[in-house]
């Protein structure tokens, strides 16, 4: 016979884990259902809920038949940003981590401390400071360029805005990757390297066949955290360009915002775009979590 008490005794973890599981369900699954429902309606901001009508998959048809070029532009630059930012941050982070690991300088703790600084700065405020640095009339970057090379750049203009946002992202998160990989490098055992050196391995071979496999767990972790956060990017771009000029830097998050904000209020359509963002993020994070778990299991 089924008894609640017996069930709880056999599943001792439940009373510890259940509250969090319930909370996470309420805070993530209910809003997701809400979002799906909203994406099938024509609801607009400020409407009474009763005024909203179900429009079926109209919002999605609009997105996927190609009529909505702004949407595809957003998808494209969001994915491009994720790939480029993650790749550069990983490569540069790895390089800095090796520099730190090989350095015997007494100032190393200071360098590590400095690298925590960009991570501690509030992103929206940091972006605002960068906006001042990028300013084409009285920004520091152009001042230096003008006085040393005799030209200036419209950093937040049509052509450069994407790369300027990328630069800010690199500044803020390359140290993050570097610190994670540095911690990994530091905890690496010396024996395999000694053995490889005796067998006459080149430093590239050691890097390829020892360092990379031994660090794979951390590499995937850094990849996961950076890729997902780059896809979700909002505050930096919002403060620097608000998606502009035009829609040059309108990443998916910003596209959702532009549709749903007080001026447009197209909550139904914005929800459909938000669903696409959610699905992309879920696919990427699932894939990388799976890879990371496998890498971590191999390590054990």
């Amino acid at each position: 016979m089924f008894s609640v008490k017996g069930f709880l005794q056999r599943n001792g973890h439940l009373k510890y884990v259940a509250p969090v599981m319930c909370l996470m369900m309420v805070l993530s699954i209910i809003p997701t259902i809400f979002l799906i429902v909203a994406s099938f309606t024509n609801y607009q901001l400020g409407w009474d809920f009763s005024r909203a009508k179900f429009v079926g998959i109209d919002n999605y048809i609009r997105l996927f038949t190609g009529a909505d070029t702004a949407f595809w532009h957003s998808v494209l630059i969001s994915v491009a940003f994720m790939v480029v930012a993650t790749a550069i941050e990983l490569a540069l982070g790895f390089w800095i981590a090796t520099l730190l690991n090989n350095s015997e300088s007494k100032l190393k703790p200071l360098a590590v401390g400095i690298m925590i600084l960009p991570l501690a700065m509030t992103p929206s405020i940091a972006a605002q400071v960068w906006k001042l640095i990028f300013n084409s009339e009285y920004g520091l970057l152009n001042y230096i360029l003008q006085n040393t090379f005799g030209f200036s750049v419209t950093w937040l203009g049509q052509d450069m805005a994407f790369w300027s946002i990328l630069l800010v992202d690199l500044w803020q998160f390359t140290p993050f990757v570097a610190l994670i990989l540095y911690a990994g490098l530091r905890s690496m055992p010396a024996e395999p390297y000694e053995a490889a050196a005796i067998d006459g391995a080149t430093s590239w071979q050691m890097f390829r066949f020892l360092t990379i496999p031994m660090l794979s767990k951390l590499i995937y972790l850094a990849l996961l955290l950076r890729a997902v956060d780059a896809l979700k990017l909002f505050d930096t771009a919002f403060v620097l360009t608000q998606g502009g000029p035009g829609n040059a830097t309108e990443f998916l998050s910003l596209h959702v915002f532009r549709l749903a904000n007080a001026q447009n209020g197209l909550v139904g359509r914005a929800s459909a775009v938000a669903m696409v963002l959610l699905v992309i993020v879920m696919v990427v994070s699932r894939f990388l979590i799976k890879r990371q778990r496998r890498a971590a299991e191999v390590m054990l």
């Binding site: 001792g12 973890h13 510890y16 884990v17 509250p19 969090v20 599981m21 909370l23 996470m24 805070l27 993530s28 209910i30 809003p31 979002l35 909203a38 800095i96 090989n102 350095s103 300088s105 100032l107 200071l110 690298m115 925590i116 600084l117 960009p118 991570l119 700065m121 509030t122 992103p123 929206s124 405020i125 940091a126 972006a127 400071v129 906006k131 001042l132 009285y138 920004g139 520091l140 001042y143 500044w171 994670i180 911690a183 990994g184 530091r186 905890s187 951390l218 972790l221 979700k232 909002f234 505050d235 998050s253 959702v256 915002f257 914005a270 938000a274 959610l278 993020v281 994070s285 699932r286």
Partner: protein, 277 residues
């Protein structure tokens, strides 16, 4: 032989110089923020004038106007409420994950972790609609609830690592001495993980202190937090750079103090407890 040592020295110097360049690059925007906050309005617009006189006028204006205080108070309330809640709920769950073994354990743990990856911009619309429904919009409580979305998964993963660091034998000894689970938790586990809890709490505070998307959308007047204050300085007459950067400096101070105090656990915090660096 001496050739080899010179070669080594050159390489070491090269590494040092590269590290110096990178460090300066990472440090620079912060220094610039500090410098700008200490300058007059006129000098801010002339970046070449390195020796511009320093002044506290921006801070004085900021304090005299007092507009910024509610932002800081809201941020602090949200951070504290959310952190305490996340820590209590999260540590309990972490204990379950660390000390019990069941078939779906890792899947459940990763389900919780995956909440951290939810794009805020996607869930903020339903949160907005739901909050309108229950009249929670523009309150600090709503933001404190939203922030559990990333702070609870973080706490569960961090605290699981800290609890797993404690030898289970200690708990077993307590059981043998006749303690039940709750007594063991209170008298054995809790004191041992307390330093870990403090570190986790500090990371939670930093996370909520810096959050922007939820704060910007779910607050209108009453629940504005520090990160959204940047919107306040975008006045018609141009950005008030001095006051903006002064706010930035003030916002950064608590975070830096906290960051220094958890330096030992910094890597661990950044990797959800995956690296015990």
């Amino acid at each position: 032989m001496s050739n080899v040592t010179t070669h080594k020295k050159v390489r070491a110097t090269g590494r040092g110089v590269l590290l110096l360049i990178f460090s300066l690059g990472f440090l620079f925007p912060f220094i610039w923020m500090l410098l700008v906050s200490l300058r007059n309005r006129v000098d801010i617009l002339d970046p070449g004038n390195i020796f511009a006189p320093l002044t506290l006028i921006n801070y004085e204006t900021l304090f005299a106007a007092g507009d910024i205080f509610p932002y800081f108070i809201n941020s602090a309330i949200i951070a504290v409420v959310n952190t305490v809640f996340s820590l209590v709920v999260g540590t309990f769950a972490a204990y379950g994950f660390a000390r019990y073994n069941w078939k779906k354990r890792e899947d459940r743990a990763f389900f919780i972790l995956s909440q951290r990856f939810l794009p805020a911009m996607a869930v903020v619309i339903p949160f907005f609609l739901m909050a309108t429904f229950v009249h929670l919009l523009d309150t600090v409580w709503l933001l404190a609830i939203c922030y559990t979305l990333f702070n609870v998964p973080f706490t569960v993963w961090m605290m699981r690592g800290f609890i797993e660091d404690i030898p289970f034998e200690l708990e077993e000894a307590a059981f043998v001495d006749g303690c039940n689970r709750m007594q063991t938790l209170r008298q054995v586990v809790f004191p041992l993980v307390l330093p870990g809890m403090v570190a986790t709490a500090i990371f939670c505070i930093i996370n909520s202190w810096n959050e922007f998307v939820f704060a910007n959308f779910l607050s209108v007047v009453h629940a504005k937090t520090v990160p959204t204050s940047v919107m306040m300085y975008l006045s018609v007459s141009g950005v008030k750079w001095g006051e903006m950067t002064a706010t930035g400096v003030l916002a950064a101070i608590p975070v830096l103090v906290f960051a220094v105090s958890v330096q030992k656990h910094m890597i661990r915090g950044m990797t959800f407890g995956a690296v015990k660096g």
